[in-house]
């Protein structure tokens, strides 16, 4: 008898919750502000197990800053940073996206978010003049790691000047627990001056059309993740990286020298590949990789189209600190 | 003395009534319309009623009929809900070809109810100004057809734009909700 009552309770409760969620639309969802971060940091994993109405606010800002030491470039950005902020939401969330264009901008801007199922990925409804704001909403239907970028004509120019970032949609059940998460976007810059020449560089349309960049970098500048800005982890920690590649032209062959990726969520989607040395990130795409930091040392992040790493700036460093493990890796004697 | 006082009062009253509309009301636009009966009126004569507006042209064969059908669908709900102060106004994008006679014929062909509907035209310059104020884009193509935004615009009684509804969108829930507040 007790057994059948328990069944009945579970039965009725599940119907109750089913009908509750059936009737839920945007206005019934709890409204929260998105937690966003600038690269290379990632917002914390999502703890809630229910959908929410998430408010995201971006501002487009045109500004001059360093592409390399002593090298300046006039960037177009989301919130003054290249890449823009990492936004983290949950599958099933309704996102209210507000785009403000700083009044000192010369250009109109908009946004195409690859997670959006809708015209232009949002670009059609977010075309914003300087000083104005556009707002649209979308539902995060698919989990994954998604590029967003400005899509105002001429689109390649808005991308080439720095307007991109990542939006992560966690699946309903969430992501597995890791100890560290990082956010990177690889991109190219087509400058009129040669790589490394000091001063203010301009955009070279000729080089862009020929797909001949002077700079290929992580996170918007040479050396963004080296020396004092290196990524860090401790031995034994599980590390996850959200890595995007916006191009605008090149495909990335992402590799970390000295590390094998335990898991690669191919193209940022749900297909999980294992034990991968180098993974391809399409232009306008992303990947999610997970690995364990097994031994200490400096591990170099590269695009393994290797001239880009050595001659165009596409290197980063992951510094792993901790106890050596001679069984996994040791230096033998030299003769 | 009394005459002077009356004149000053008149001027004050008149100037106040001219500036009676909020600064974001389209009735601040000083332009004349001609309706389908040939009657000349000021744009601000449309005030006092909630206006559901669109800009179309009678030679338009593809989208404009859909916009008008959607406006009629809204009208059916307006009647069901017994809203009293809703008008439907269409302004021609093509004043050169849309004469008063053509507008009148179009009105009859579409069986529009004159207690709620009217068709208007104005000068080419004022057509542009009105479209600009309403946020309607349009372009005359080489084949004399017009490419234009398919918007249905809702103005409150004071002429403030309250909603841009996509003209092809058959989901009127938010439109009706707004009309119930404005009526």
């Amino acid at each position: 008898m007790r057994y059948s009552y328990k069944c009945l309770n579970v039965y009725f409760l599940s119907f109750f919750f089913f009908f509750c969620f059936l009737g839920l639309n945007a206005k019934d969802l709890p409204k929260i502000d998105a937690i966003t971060t600038f690269a290379p940091e990632a917002p914390p994993p999502i703890k809630r197990n229910f959908p929410a109405y998430v408010v995201v606010k971006f501002e487009t800002i045109e500004l001059t800053k360093e592409l390399d030491d002593g090298v300046k470039y006039h960037f177009w950005t989301f919130d003054g940073a290249v890449p823009g902020k990492l936004v983290r939401v949950r599958q099933g969330d309704i996102i209210e996206f507000s785009l403000h264009n700083n009044k000192n901008s010369k250009m109109p801007h908009n946004i195409d978010i690859h997670a959006v199922s809708g015209p232009g990925g949002g670009a059609a409804v977010s075309n914003t003049s300087p000083g104005r704001t556009s707002v649209f909403t979308f539902k995060a239907l698919n989990p994954g790691v998604y590029i967003y970028h400005c899509a105002t004509p001429p689109v390649p120019l808005h991308i080439a000047n720095g307007m991109y970032g990542l939006l992560v949609v966690e699946p309903y059940k969430g992501l597995s627990k890791v100890d560290r998460e990082y956010y990177l976007v690889q991109s190219e810059f087509y400058t009129d001056n040669a790589y490394g020449k000091k001063g203010l560089h301009g955009f070279s349309q000729e080089k862009a059309l020929m797909e001949f960049p002077e700079y290929v970098v992580f996170n918007g500048r040479v050396g963004s993740t080296v020396d004092t800005r290196a990524l860090v982890a401790n031995v034994g920690e599980k590390v996850r990286m959200f890595v995007g590649n916006i191009g605008p032209n090149l495909v990335s062959s992402f590799h970390i020298i000295g590390i094998v990726f335990d898991k690669v969520y191919v193209e940022g989607g749900s297909l999980c590949n294992k034990d991968v040395q180098t993974t391809v990130i399409p232009a306008g795409g992303a990947v999610m990789i997970e690995f364990e930091a097994k031994v200490p040392g400096n591990f170099v992040l590269v695009d393994h189209s290797i001239f880009r790493a050595f001659n165009k700036g596409c290197v980063g460093i992951l510094k792993v600190i901790g106890q050596e493990n001679k069984e996994i890796f040791s230096e033998k004697a030299k003769f | 003395m009394l005459g002077k006082v009356l004149i000053y009062f008149f001027i004050l009253f008149f100037s106040l009534s001219v500036y009676a509309f909020p600064t974001n009301s389209i009735y601040n636009l000083d332009l004349k319309l001609v309706d389908k009966s040939g009657k000349v009126l000021n744009l601000h004569d449309l005030s006092g009623k909630v206006q559901i507006l669109s800009m179309i042209y009678t030679n338009c064969k593809t989208i404009c009929p859909i916009i008008i059908a959607n406006m009629k669908a809204i009208e059916r709900i307006v009647l069901l809900e017994k809203f009293k102060n809703i008008n439907f106004s269409l302004i021609s994008l093509d004043p050169d070809r849309d004469s008063v006679d053509i507008l009148s014929k179009f009105f009859n062909d579409k069986k529009m109810d004159s207690s709620r509907w009217n068709l208007y035209k104005t000068s080419k310059e004022d057509t542009l100004k009105l479209a600009l104020t309403l946020g309607i884009k349009y372009k005359k193509e080489k084949n004399n057809e017009y490419t234009h935004s398919n918007l249905i615009i809702i103005l409150d009684k004071q002429g403030v734009i309250k909603m841009h509804h996509q003209g092809l969108d058959k989901n009127f829930d938010h439109v009706i909700k707004l009309l119930s507040q404005l009526d």
């Binding site: 300087p130 | 593809t62 935004s149």
Partner: protein, 258 residues
């Protein structure tokens, strides 16, 4: 009595000289053809557009000229213009600034309505997109700028590598083949029919118009997808509303001839 008539005579001269102020600094643009960014008409139509002769202001309208216009038309003064005609940043660069120091700089933060009112007051009008683009398609020495090396790259440099604060005064502007100064790289400029730019799917090359969504739409594609500066101008116009103002948006006027 005679002195009185002289005074009246001088007064009218002064008045009409203000009225015609904008007329003096105009140049003739002779009729011709240019290739617009987006093709008009069908596949079989020519991609070139014919533009009739007209006169155009040599320089963008300056702060001083606009101030004179307001003196004669006080309803366009900063505090008097309603939101429907100009947004809250209307002439905001005049606040707390000595106008003499910016008198010869292009007036900005003016809406389409304000620009249109200015031109109308002087018996002029805003240029159409075709007229403006026709003048702008000229190089320094050629009516067709594409015939000059680095033409597109130079304009691109001005647009994207300069800052808003570097708007130059009319004395520093460079002229093109038509003796029109500062047509590129100074400020964006209002055109009368900016609202004819209907870009639907901006991610696609040039923006396509779908027949089903717009009456009389003809499928358009950009004729030269490498003309980034033309794209930028079209994208800018596409995002505008008539009451918008911007610190990098000014105007100049045109007049019909013949």
């Amino acid at each position: 009595m005679f002195n009185f008539y002289i005074l009246i005579f001088l007064f009218f001269n002064l008045f009409f000289s203000y009225v015609k102020a904008s007329d003096k600094d105009m140049v003739l643009i002779t009729s011709g053809e240019y290739t617009p960014l987006f093709k008009y008409g069908d596949v079989s139509d020519s991609s070139k557009v014919y533009v009739k002769s007209f006169m155009i202001n040599k320089y963008p309208i300056t702060n001083l000229q606009f101030k004179h216009f307001i003196l004669n038309n006080p309803k366009w003064d900063l505090d008097k213009v309603g939101y429907i005609f100009a947004d809250k940043n209307y002439l905001s660069h005049w606040e707390n600034v000595d106008l003499d120091s910016i008198s010869n700089y292009p007036v900005v933060n003016v809406s389409w309505f304000a620009a249109d009112a200015y031109c109308s007051y002087y018996g002029l009008r805003l240029p159409t997109i075709d007229e403006w683009e026709y003048v702008a398609s000229a190089g320094i020495n050629n009516p067709n700028g594409r015939d000059e090396a680095n033409y597109l790259q130079d304009i691109l440099d001005w647009y994207i590598n300069s800052q808003v604060s570097k708007i130059v005064c009319i004395n520093s502007m460079t002229k093109n083949y038509w003796n029109v100064f500062g047509i590129h790289g100074v400020v964006w400029e209002w055109v009368s029919d900016f609202n004819s730019v209907i870009l639907l799917n901006t991610d696609a090359e040039g923006g396509g118009l779908e027949e089903l969504l717009y009456c009389g739409a003809t499928a358009t594609n950009a004729i030269d997808p490498a003309d980034y500066v033309a794209f930028m101008r079209f994208a800018f116009r596409n995002a505008l509303e008539a009451n918008y103002t911007s610190s990098s948006l000014g105007f100049r006027c045109v007049k019909n001839v013949g």
